[in-house]
Symmetry: C2
Subunit: 315 residues, 2 copies
C-alpha cells in the first residue's frame, strides 16, 4: 500500500462537497488493442467526442436527486473477464486485470455463471487505502467504489448507466474494506418497486443471499480463502449506502485536489476544475493518449477453461 | 398426437438390433437463413461433404463399447434459444422451436442462466407417441431421446459429441414421458471418474438437484405448471439409462423401416439401408434440399427480455 504522506483528517471529513450534475450526458467507448489481450483498453468519449476519464470526468451524480448516480459498467452480467477501470493508466481506460502475467477471469462457482450482476464502479469515488473505516476497522482498497446493478438487462462493457442505490454490503478482502453498492438501473421495469434493501428480497427472493455467497466463494478456486463480511453478514440499507458514497466521494476529492498522495494513480482529466498541477489536460493531449495506445485488432480466442464450473463448499 | 395405425407390439419389442459403428466420423454444420429468424436452419454434413440427417444418418453408437454414443448438441450451455432437431423438416435440420408464431427462448429461472448443460439428442432414437412406457405409464413425446451433457466445455450448436451415459431421469411433461439422459463428453477431464449416476453427486455436488429443479420449474414463467418426475424424483442409474436408449433405438428402427406410421416425420436420409419407400435419397437430392432453403444472412437482434431472470418458487 501507498504510505500516507498527508494527514488523513481531511480525507475522512465527508462533509458537504459540491457535486456535478450532468443528467443527460451520453458516453461512448473507444476500444484499443485486440480484445482478450494484455493490450486491450476501453477508453471513454463524451458526446462531443472528447476523451474523458471515467474515474474523474464522469460525474458521480446523474441528477440533482442524490440517489441517482452514474455507474460505469466494467463487467456485464454472465461474463468472466475481470475488467476494471485502470486507476494507474492515463485517462483510466477499462482494462482486464492481470495476475502473474495472465489475463484474469473470475471462476464460475456452481450454480452461478460469471458475475450475477452488471458490475462496475461509481465515478468520482475512491476507497482511500490510507483511510481506516470506522465500522469495518479496515482500510480502503485503492479503487473506485464497486456497484452491483441488479436490473434485468445485460449491460454493455463501458456502458454508463443511471442507477438508484438500494443498499450495500461490506466485503472484507484480505483485510481491506471493499464496499459493494447494490443498485438498479433507473430504467428497469422493477426500479419503481425497489427503493431500499428490503425491497430486493421481496421482488427477487434469494438474490441477496446469492450475492453474499458469490462474493464469499468466488476466489476459492484460485486458492484464496473465503471472503468475509462486516455487520454479521447483513446488508446495510440505502441511507447507509448513501453515506458510504458520500465518504468515498470525499476521499476522491482529497485525491484529485492533491490533499492525498496519489501514489501512482493517474489523475489526468479534461474537466475537473479543482485539479492540481498539470492533471487537467487539453482534449488534444487526451486524444493523443488514445492515439498512442495499441491499435485495435481481432479478438484473441478465450480458453475453454474459463467456462468451467467449480464446486465450492461455502461452509 | 398421431394415431397408431400399426400394432405397437413390434415397436415395444426392444430386442437386439444391429447397430452402426462409426467411431471417427466427423461432422460439420451448414447454417441457412438468418440466425434468430424463423428461417434459420442448421443442416449437417459428413466429412465427405454429403448432407446427412442428424436424426437418421448419424449413428447412435460412436464405438463398439456400447456406452459411448454420438450426441447431437442442439442447445449449448448457458444459452436460451430452444433449438431442436426438426423431426418434420427434410434432412432434419436444427431449427428454433416456434410458439404462437414467435421464436421460443427458455426463461432464465434464478439462479440459473439458460440451459445448465449442453443439451441435445441421441441420433437414431425416437420416443414413440404410440408407445406407453411400462414404468411411467406415459406415452413418448415424438422426439429423439434428450441428453444433458455435463462436461466443462460449452459445446457448439450442432456439435456431434461422443458421450458416456451415466444415468437418466424421467420427466413427465403434460402426460408424456420425456426421458433426460445424463452423459459426459468422453474427452472431458472428469470422464474417467464418472461411470454411473452416483459419481456425479461426488464430483459435482448439487448438480443433480439443480437438474431436477431446472426441469421442474423451467416452463413456469410461460404459464405452465411445474413438471413432475417418475420414480419419486430419483435419478436412475446407467444400466437403466442404457435400457431406455435401447428401447428408443428400437422405436426409431420401427419408424425408419416403416413398421410404425411416420405421421409427418421426415424419414429422408442418405445412408440407412433398411429405409422403406423413397426415403433413402441421393447425395444430390439431399444437397438440393439445403440449396433450396433460405439463404444465410446476418443475425437478427435478440430481445433483451431473453436475458431476464425469473424468480420461481418450486414448492
Amino acid at each position: 500500500n501507498c504510505p500516507a504522506k498527508f494527514a488523513t483528517e481531511l480525507s475522512t471529513s465527508g462533509g458537504k462537497h459540491r457535486t456535478y450534475f450532468a443528467s443527460t450526458m451520453a458516453y461512448r467507448t473507444v476500444e484499443r488493442g485486440p480484445p482478450n489481450s494484455l493490450d486491450y483498453r476501453v477508453y471513454f468519449q463524451d458526446e462531443s467526442g472528447k476523451i474523458v476519464s471515467p474515474f474523474h470526468d464522469i460525474p458521480l451524480f446523474a441528477n440533482a436527486e442524490k440517489t441517482v448516480f452514474n455507474m460505469v459498467v466494467e463487467v456485464p452480467r454472465w461474463t468472466n473477464a475481470k475488467m476494471e477501470i485502470s486507476v494507474k493508466g492515463e485517462m483510466n481506460p477499462i482494462k482486464q486485470d492481470v495476475k502473474k502475467g495472465k489475463l484474469r477471469y473470475v471462476k464460475n462457482c456452481f450454480p452461478h455463471h460469471g458475475y450475477i450482476w452488471n458490475y462496475g464502479a461509481l465515478p468520482q469515488t475512491w476507497e482511500d487505502p490510507n483511510h481506516t473505516d470506522k465500522d469495518t476497522k479496515c482500510k480502503g482498497d485503492n479503487d473506485p467504489l464497486d456497484v452491483c446493478e441488479i436490473g434485468y438487462k445485460v449491460a454493455a462493457r463501458g456502458e454508463v448507466m443511471k442507477v438508484k442505490v438500494l443498499g450495500t454490503l461490506a466485503m472484507i478482502d484480505e483485510g481491506e474494506t471493499d464496499w459493494k453498492i447494490l443498485a438498479i438501473n433507473v430504467d428497469d421495469p422493477l426500479a419503481e418497486k425497489l427503493n431500499d434493501i428490503a425491497d430486493i428480497q421481496r421482488e427477487m427472493p434469494g438474490f441477496i443471499e446469492s450475492t453474499f455467497e458469490w462474493f464469499k466463494i468466488y476466489k476459492v478456486p484460485d486458492g484464496k480463502p473465503l471472503n468475509t463480511f462486516a455487520f454479521d453478514s447483513k446488508p446495510k440499507d440505502k441511507a447507509f449506502a448513501l453515506n458510504i458514497i458520500e465518504q468515498t466521494h470525499g476521499q476522491w476529492r482529497e485525491l484529485i485536489t492533491g490533499r492525498t498522495d496519489a501514489c501512482g494513480i493517474s489523475l489526468k482529466n479534461v474537466s475537473v476544475k479543482e485539479s492540481v498541477g498539470d492533471n487537467k489536460i487539453s482534449a488534444d493531449v487526451a486524444k493523443s493518449i488514445v492515439d498512442d495506445s495499441p491499435q485495435p485488432g481481432d479478438a484473441n480466442p478465450i480458453s475453454p477453461e474459463v467456462d468451467k464450473w467449480h464446486y465450492v463448499a461455502s461452509q
